[in-house]
């Protein structure tokens, strides 16, 4: 952590977005994580993404559980709503919050412990329900807060700081999400903002559960030789198969790419994700192909990154349940609470 607060002065040429806000207006408190933590870079990417999309901070709800990753919502969008839940229970709180107020843009930040160990069941059901939220899994392969034990995402063979090798199989968040029917699955790296920022933006615009697994090195306990989640290892083994360019609704779409290398997916709000494919044969809208490709790269010892799968016809939890349009808070009181007569009528239907 750092003792002084970040000075509020900024570069004279710092740009403002459509709301008249600078990137600095999307910051939160100064980080208390270790110096060099990948999570801080993800925080910076989130700040940049929200700023560039002209999203008013008070229209956002930030949710998290417990862990290093779950501390990070304090470090961005200081004017957004926030809820720091019980360990692993963030998906349930997010589901409830989203049920009550679907107008809020939901971002959940979790870690490999919070999501893949204690909260695995919660995560699975949020994916199944297709809760409309961006879910960022800050994945460093260790339990940093308890001094670096292997987490559920630690690869077999990766070593601890002391040199012991992990013997158990890893849970791969992206594969898990694909099998559970996730409608948006991406993998990125905290050290590659060019890739990460547009993925976060596409995830925010996506209507449904946008799962983003971000390799985020733990500089204190998992950045050594022998680690498969270090800065150096990730840089060496990451293979970007498809690069997402996020095009907001208000910007014209220009075609400058060679035939067959770009796949366009129009999102629910009219914005477009352009998928620049490094591998020409890759189809990012084919769930089975995505699954196979991830497995294939894993076998070769590579970390496949990019926007791996995107369902063009995602139906979120509200669509599926045909809920009332708008948030509960915006409903007139007589609709929200129609009174005893309406209740009696409803109950009559079930007698």
């Amino acid at each position: 952590m750092t003792y002084i607060t970040k000075p509020t002065v900024h570069h004279p040429s710092l740009k403002k977005n459509a709301l008249g806000l600078t990137r600095r207006d999307y910051e939160g408190a100064i980080t208390t994580l270790c110096a060099g933590c990948g999570h801080d870079s993800i925080t910076a990417a989130i700040i940049h993404a929200f700023w560039e999309m002209d999203i008013a901070p008070h229209k956002v709800a930030k949710l998290s559980g417990i862990g290093c990753s779950s501390k990070t919502p304090a470090y961005f969008l200081r004017e957004a709503h926030g809820f720091n839940s019980v360990h692993g229970r963030m998906p349930a709180v997010a589901t409830g919050a989203n049920a009550a107020n679907g107008d809020l843009i939901m971002i959940g930040v979790s870690g490999d412990g919070d999501s893949l160990s204690i909260g695995l069941g919660q995560l699975c059901h949020a994916i199944r329900r297709n809760v409309n939220m961006l879910y960022v899994l800050e994945n460093n392969g260790v339990y940093g807060l308890t001094k670096g034990q292997f987490s559920a995402s630690a690869d077999p063979g990766t070593t601890s700081k002391k040199g012991e090798a992990n013997t158990m199989e890893a849970i791969d968040g992206a594969l898990l999400a694909l099998t559970l029917g996730a409608t948006f699955v991406a993998r990125s790296f905290s050290g590659d903002k060019d890739q990460l920022v547009p993925i976060i933006q596409a995830g925010i615009a996506h209507r449904g559960f946008a799962f983003v697994d971000v390799i985020s090195p733990c500089v204190t306990f998992n950045d050594h030789e022998g680690s498969t989640k270090s800065y150096a290892y990730t840089r060496e083994h990451a293979v970007e198969v498809v690069h997402a360019d996020f095009v907001p609704l208000r910007e014209p779409i220009e075609t400058t790419y060679a035939e067959g290398t770009v796949q366009r997916v129009t999102l629910h709000d009219g914005s477009v994700v352009k998928l620049r494919k490094v591998d020409k044969d890759y189809d990012a809208t084919n769930r089975d192909a995505a699954y196979a490709a991830i497995r294939d790269h894993q076998r070769k010892g590579e970390v496949m990154t990019g926007l791996l799968y995107l369902s063009p016809d995602s139906k979120d939890v509200h669509d599926q349940n045909e809920t009332v349009a708008g948030s509960l808070v915006s409903l007139p009181h007589d609709q929200l609470c129609p009174g005893n007569d309406a209740l009696q009528k409803l109950q009559q239907q079930f007698r």
Partner: protein, 600 residues
């Protein structure tokens, strides 16, 4: 692009904008920190090493450091460096013990110095402790040169002058007062002196020969007039006074006129405000004293009626800026009534006492002695020039620096060494890291605004010539102003091989100074591909060598770096460190070390 060479003292020196801009390269951030710690004696002595006259300069310096100050680019107003210097001078205890002393045993070399102004006094200050015997020939009765006779006492009180000049004179300089040198040739040819230094200033005010100039006794030459006021020869002036010219001397003249009883004082300028030679703060101080400054007027004639000056006629102009240049068109004439006129349109050198057949070359265009810009020696070996006498009118701080350089040359000359083999500036870099989050300097950015100097009220200051206008900073003001300094000498020092490209420094930097970028073809291309474009070309760009993991470069735009140390604090590998840069300046007596000897 190649890696920035930070082992060259010039790179980090340039980052310390104030020190780089100061002709004498005073270590400003270090003395401001000392003031912050209440170490006024140390701050004074540190100042004195480079600028010799902290009390005098703390009141009168032209402050080239302040327009250069980084704080000005961050929040619009530079640190009040000059006024903090005065704080150190005003609040120090007796520091006599810490002034260098002349050794009892002399080195047998004698130096004659002509004029007891800032440049010659600096030469004596540097040479006396080395055992030289210095003799100063001063045409007036007291030392100080223009500092004493041209700068009015309401800006520079006499006790301050006496004290700081005393520190030098009391080293045992032989002072010859009322001793104008009338022949340089005879002084030199006596062979009594091993070297001669000419620091006689630019004592001649420029004349304005227009009709009527010599038909009245109410037209004065600025610097002569100020001198007469100083010596008590002039006690009054007309009620309506016109000052011709708009430099700093004009400001001293108009404000002196107010104190001599003038009620209507106008300063006349040919050009518009942007082109005024006076420092902005001197203009403000004059306007505060209800002096009117008129633009776009060019003198035509003095109007004399019955032997009495009644006014002046001027050509009027309209002005506009075309492509950054001032274009003036005639716009008729105007007559301004007045009782006295003071001409403050510049100064000239005058060397009627230097014989032109003594092997000391004068240039044909300006009739100025030919002086080497590095060594300050004339074409006659052993005769040196400095201050306004060398290259025409400048200011006190330049005169001091000339004095330092001339002293180095004189020392080399007297020891038979080549003047070109000058001792080099070196640097020391020391980490300021004290703990995980602690640094040995105040790294937290204080948003406090520049403190405003309090001035004595108008009736009181007009009552006497010697009432100092500026009251000096209060303790409270000093406390705030010292915290405005960004500590630019505490450098962000980068070690390429340690960087793991985690982006932590880039994410935390409040002013977007840092980028990890692929190497660009040129520096100008690199400047456009950064977190924020580096458009201030006066400010250097730091570029690392290729980084280990990706081969990209760490690039830093120095322009608005706050030196807050957050990059170093968030760096997990110590690749960034905050290191205090100390420039070791050479002075007379600093040994010349050939570069090969230190392995460079």
């Amino acid at each position: 692009m190649s890696r920035t060479d930070t082992s060259d003292p010039n790179y980090y020196h340039k980052v310390v904008d104030c020190q780089w801009a100061c002709p004498a390269h005073t270590n400003v951030p270090e003395y401001i920190r000392m003031i912050a710690q209440g170490r006024f004696d140390d701050a004074y002595i540190l100042n004195r090493e480079s600028n010799v006259f902290p009390g005098i300069l703390g009141r009168t310096c032209d402050r080239p450091c302040e327009p250069a100050c980084r704080r000005g680019r961050v929040d619009g107003k530079p640190v009040a460096i000059c006024r903090l210097k005065r704080v150190a001078a005003d609040h120090k205890d007796d520091i006599t013990d810490r002034i260098p002393k002349a050794p009892a045993k002399k080195n047998g070399k004698k130096v004659a110095l002509i004029g007891a102004g800032p440049s010659a006094l600096t030469v004596a200050n540097d040479l006396m402790p080395l055992g030289y015997q210095c003799t100063i020939f001063e045409k007036g009765p007291r030392p100080g040169g223009l500092m004493r006779i041209n700068i009015p006492a309401f800006r520079l009180p006499e006790p301050v002058l006496d004290e700081e000049i005393g520190y030098i004179v009391n080293m045992g300089v032989e002072m010859k007062y009322d001793a104008p040198v009338t022949s340089l040739k005879s002084l030199v040819t006596t062979n009594e002196y091993d070297a001669v230094f000419v620091g006689s200033g630019a004592p001649k005010g420029k004349e304005l020969d227009l009709p009527g100039r010599h038909d009245t006794d109410q037209i004065f030459i600025g610097i002569e007039w100020l001198e007469s006021i100083h010596f008590g020869h002039i006690h009054e002036v007309g009620k309506r006074v016109l000052i011709i010219g708009v430099g700093n001397t004009a400001m001293d003249c108009c404000r002196s006129a107010k104190r001599l009883g003038a009620t209507d004082v106008k300063v006349i300028s040919r050009k518009t405000r942007k082109y005024f030679k006076a420092s902005p703060w001197e203009l403000e101080d004059a306007e505060e004293e209800q002096v009117e400054i008129l633009e776009n007027l060019s003198p035509v004639r003095f109007i004399i009626e019955g032997g009495t000056l009644t006014g002046m006629e001027f050509d009027k102009f309209t002005s506009q800026e075309v492509d950054g240049k001032l274009v003036q068109e005639p716009a008729g004439r105007i007559t301004l009534p007045c009782d006295s006129v003071v001409l403050a349109i510049g100064q000239e050198n005058a060397f009627p006492w230097i014989e032109r057949d003594m092997g000391l070359e004068f240039d044909t265009k300006w009739d100025m002695p030919v002086v080497d810009k590095t060594t300050f020696m004339s074409t006659r070996p052993g005769v040196f020039f400095g201050g306004d006498a060398a290259f025409g009118p400048a200011n006190i701080i330049w005169a001091v620096e000339h004095g330092h350089q001339a002293a180095i040359s004189i020392d080399l000359f007297c020891h038979g060494q080549a003047l070109s083999e000058r001792p080099k500036a070196t640097m020391a870099l020391t980490s300021t890291k004290m703990g995980l989050h602690e640094w040995s300097y105040s790294n937290d950015y204080d948003p406090v605004q520049r403190q405003k100097m309090k001035h004595v009220n108008l009736p009181e200051r007009f009552s006497k010539m010697t009432v100092e206008v500026e009251e000096g900073f209060t303790a409270e003001q000093t406390k705030h102003e010292v915290e405005r300094c960004l500590n630019c000498d505490v450098q962000t020092h980068f070690t390429d091989s340690l960087c793991i490209e985690c982006d932590a420094c880039i994410d935390i930097c409040p002013v977007d100074c840092l980028t990890i970028a692929p190497a660009a073809a040129s520096e100008s291309a690199q400047r456009q591909h950064l977190m924020a474009p580096a458009e201030n070309l006066d400010q250097p760009l730091f570029e690392s060598g290729p980084l280990k993991q990706t081969g990209r470069l760490m690039v830093k735009d120095e322009n608005v770096c706050l030196h807050c140390g957050l990059c170093a604090e968030r760096c997990p590998t110590y690749a960034w460190d905050m290191r205090k840069f100390v420039l070791e300046l050479p002075y007379a007596g600093t040994a010349f070390i050939p570069l090969e000897a230190v392995g460079r």
